[in-house]
């Protein structure tokens, strides 16, 4: 056999084997870019007064390589997660409102047909004392400078620290002629444009009108993708123009608010990954939100927020997923994370929609995949709290961990015990 012939045979390797290798290479390249950005920024920032110019092609992805599970690996090696429930009867409920959620387009990238068998779980980075380890001041400074460069802005004065506590800097804010940029310790970047420099989309498109139709919003989102997609990276940009309804009890003429219902549509852009998992992770951890609120200029962009959540996390492992049916059983037992006025759904509660999302909050140390059940609790809210709004149904948000229950335990205050 000639050596070229074996090379030729390797060229005909099955597609699924090549796809797997392709995925590993691509993830590695993205991680390399992120690591290089952080390292370069810290080195150059230490020299003071140097402006870091980083190519806009860098991605903000996890700075730890993905751990791929070897088949047959002993599952006992996986970390057992400790999760908190937050079920309260207090204010600030996690509830969304729609006339009928079943008639809404679900823009979440997950679909049940994806047949995902496992997804990564991320843990908040901690230092040697177990304290959360977010971005350092130098890293935030370099991120600020990087995004200023991407927008073509020049920072006009030394970024001022804001919200500093116990020696930790939680955010940095810099001013440019065109905008105010803030970087937060979890890697989030927020840009508030100064009015005279706020970018505008064509007048035929609108950003902040309450009664925008789905088609009009799609046209706006498409334009925004072309305009700002580069801020996320070089892959295809996709969008989410969902958002629920709100109610103006005390309308404001200044803000153009009329009494009654309004649509809270959002414009979220994210990158399509090389596979379904990467797309879901991009949507969860590295997306951009664009908004406008000037009622006199409905085509004006007033702000942009870019999430780089992986800055604050490290990957622990990939965990096997349970099915939607198994998750629903967990939900009925009360094993979920929720804040819906203390109301838990039962077998008679109608399911509005289910998505697969990543859930994380200040209390929990993990970002983990969850089935988000949106359950119609309109009647229960009316009966138990006296909360009711004409024209909309109210859907409580219930997060059921999508990973196999043998890999996590709940902390105390587990009200599911009441259900048993």
């Amino acid at each position: 056999m000639k050596k070229e012939e074996i090379m030729q045979a390797i060229n005909e390797v099955d597609d699924d084997l090549l796809i797997s290798a392709q995925k590993a290479r691509r993830k590695h390249r993205q991680n390399q870019k992120h690591q290089s950005m952080i390292k370069t920024a810290v080195i150059l920032t230490a020299a003071a007064s140097l402006i870091v110019v980083i190519s806009w092609q860098m991605h903000h992805q996890t700075d730890n390589p993905t751990t791929i599970i070897e088949p047959g690996r002993d599952t006992e090696e996986k970390t057992i997660l400790t999760l908190n429930k937050t079920i309260t009867d207090g204010m600030g409920m996690s509830v969304v409102m729609y006339p009928d959620i079943k008639k809404e387009t679900d823009y979440n990238p997950w679909d049940i047909s994806m047949n995902l068998s496992a997804l990564p779980v991320y843990e908040k980075k901690t230092d040697s004392n177990g304290e959360p380890m977010d971005l350092s001041k130098e890293e935030m400074l370099s991120l600020l400078q990087e995004y200023a460069d991407r927008f073509g802005f020049q920072i006009t004065e030394e970024p001022l620290s804001s919200f500093t506590a116990e020696g930790n800097t939680f955010s940095l804010t810099a001013k440019t002629k065109e905008a105010q940029l803030s970087c937060y310790a979890d890697g989030e970047i927020t840009v508030f444009f100064n009015k005279e420099y706020a970018p505008r989309i064509p007048e035929s498109l609108k950003l902040n009108v309450d009664d925008l139709s789905k088609e009009e919003a799609e046209a706006t989102a498409t334009y925004l993708s072309e305009m700002f997609g580069y801020l996320l990276g070089e892959d295809e940009t996709v969008w989410d123009i969902g958002g629920d309804f709100g109610y103006h009890y005390q309308p404001s003429e200044d803000l153009g608010e009329k009494e009654g219902l309004f649509r809270n549509r959002h414009y979220i852009l994210y990158q399509k990954g090389c596979d379904d998992t990467e797309t879901i992770l991009n949507y969860a951890f590295h997306h951009m939100q664009i908004w406008g609120y000037d009622i006199d200029h409905p085509n004006q962009i007033d702000g942009i927020r870019i999430l780089n959540k992986m800055s604050a996390y490290q990957e622990t492992d990939e965990y096997p997923l349970i099915s939607l049916e198994e998750a629903y059983e967990q939900l009925l037992k009360g094993y979920c994370i929720a804040n819906a006025g203390g109301i838990l759904p039962d077998a008679d509660t109608e399911t509005g929609d289910v998505q697969l999302v990543y859930w994380d909050n200040q209390i929990c140390n993990y970002a983990l995949p969850c089935y988000l059940f949106m359950m119609d609790i309109t009647d229960a809210l009316k009966e138990q709290i006296g909360l009711y709004i004409e024209g909309v149904r109210q859907y409580g948000l219930y997060y059921v961990p999508a990973i196999d229950p043998k890999y996590y335990k709940w902390t105390e205050n587990d009200i599911s015990e009441q259900r048993k």
């Binding site: 045979a9 084997l17 590993a24 390399q32 993905t66």
Partner: protein, 185 residues
Amino acid sequence: MEDKDIIELYWQRDETAIRETDIKYGSYLHAVAFNILNDREDAKETTNDTYLKTWNSIPPQKPSAFLVWLSRITRSLAIDRLRFLTRKKRGTSQYDISLEELEECIGGETAVKEYELSILKDMINSFLRCYSEKQRNLFLCRYFYFDSLKEASAACGFSEASAKTQLFRMRTALKEYLAKEGFLS
């Protein structure tokens, strides 16, 4: 643009299909070619040849994994191009290094018949499926994509030393497998 939409453009003989392919995968394919040819101009020409071959192949073909399909064409064209280049350019690319490594797996330089190549392809697939995903990825990063040992090991989660050992063992096992099936003289 979704792969299926790009492929549809080829079917409709819309020349924007080539532009869309270039936008989405141009840099990736260029990197595949460069790993073999170690020359930017040659890699660029190979990438352009890939588009031409794709245009001439779709239809009737309708690849289900578009990037994999394109990668195969680019790799194959790059290897063919390399064979015609001067001796001087050889020995510096990852392709040549990988080729030298794989020489361990083969016997003499007797040409394999065409039908035997098809069997050889199936055997390589079967061989690879005996290994974990991580090990398979390492093998393919090195011998399909011609990544350097450093890059291949990092992409697949091995240390360089461990990757080197893994690849050595896989080549040895492949040689034994091919010998057992009568492919080696």
